[in-house]
Symmetry: C2
Subunit: 150 residues, 2 copies
């Protein structure tokens, strides 16, 4: 599990080194055995219909998935850069308020295989599912693939 210090460092990285994450107001709002949650308010992410812009939603999901993999990778002592490779987003409903991205922690067996592959070959890929929620309802789902390279 990542420490509180690791979570604070992640939040600082997001806001100091990724200006769009700061402009979006993206904040890590929860962390637990199930995964990581990141939330962004509506105002900086609104579109001309008064709902959450689809591009903001995809960016929030990509950030949440990246943050999950980054934290898990660091917690396991892997010295690897995590980069996005692919993402697929399905939008199911407009989001009239703040959006929370819940990035699901991979199954332990999947994670162990990822760690072993990365340590052996210096490169491994991981698929992460992210649900995007607004006012308790799912508004989009995201499947993102990340590569960890050392």
């Amino acid at each position: 599990m990542p420490t509180d210090f690791a979570l604070r460092r992640l939040q600082a990285l997001l806001h100091e080194q990724i200006p769009l994450a700061r402009e979006m107001g993206a904040e890590v709002t929860a962390w637990g055995p199930g995964g990581l949650e990141m939330t962004a308010p509506l105002a900086p992410n609104v579109n001309h219909h008064g709902t959450f812009f689809g591009g903001s939603a995809s960016a929030l999901g990509i950030l949440a998935g990246w943050s999950l993999v980054h934290l898990l990778t660091m917690a396991d002592g892997l010295d690897a850069e995590v980069v996005i490779q692919r993402v697929a987003v399905r939008y199911s409903a407009p989001a009239p308020g703040p959006v929370t991205a819940h990035a699901h922690r991979p199954d332990p067996s999947v994670w162990q295989r990822f760690v072993a592959t990365q340590a052996r070959f210096g490169l491994a890929r991981l698929r992460v599912r992210v649900d995007l929620l607004c006012e308790g309802e799912r508004v989009a789902t995201l499947e993102a693939s990340y590569a960890a390279k050392s």
Copy 2:
């Protein structure tokens, strides 16, 4: 073909009603028979590796595709709202500079079917391909599906 006035109205809409598009510095930089180009500078879209943030790239592609469908829809006199339904992005290379999203105009037969379906049922879907380029090289491709509802 959309008029210069329509292009200026689109640019105003993007910057006045979608704050993230303004923060990204997204500008329509070309329009022609092949489609629409939208460009964003690196600085507001940079990540901690000094390259274009993947979430910015997906948002730029979504905006470019949306703008293409919005302009074509208006030019054909359809009174319809265009919304994103799905998007799939493949990242192929890091982008160390400004990124241009080239949204490809659909084939005339595909477009005519879309217009006829929309006019008849009040709802039609269209798939748009967007190439993301940096310094002349492709850095990502995007397949986005939009719905037009009246």
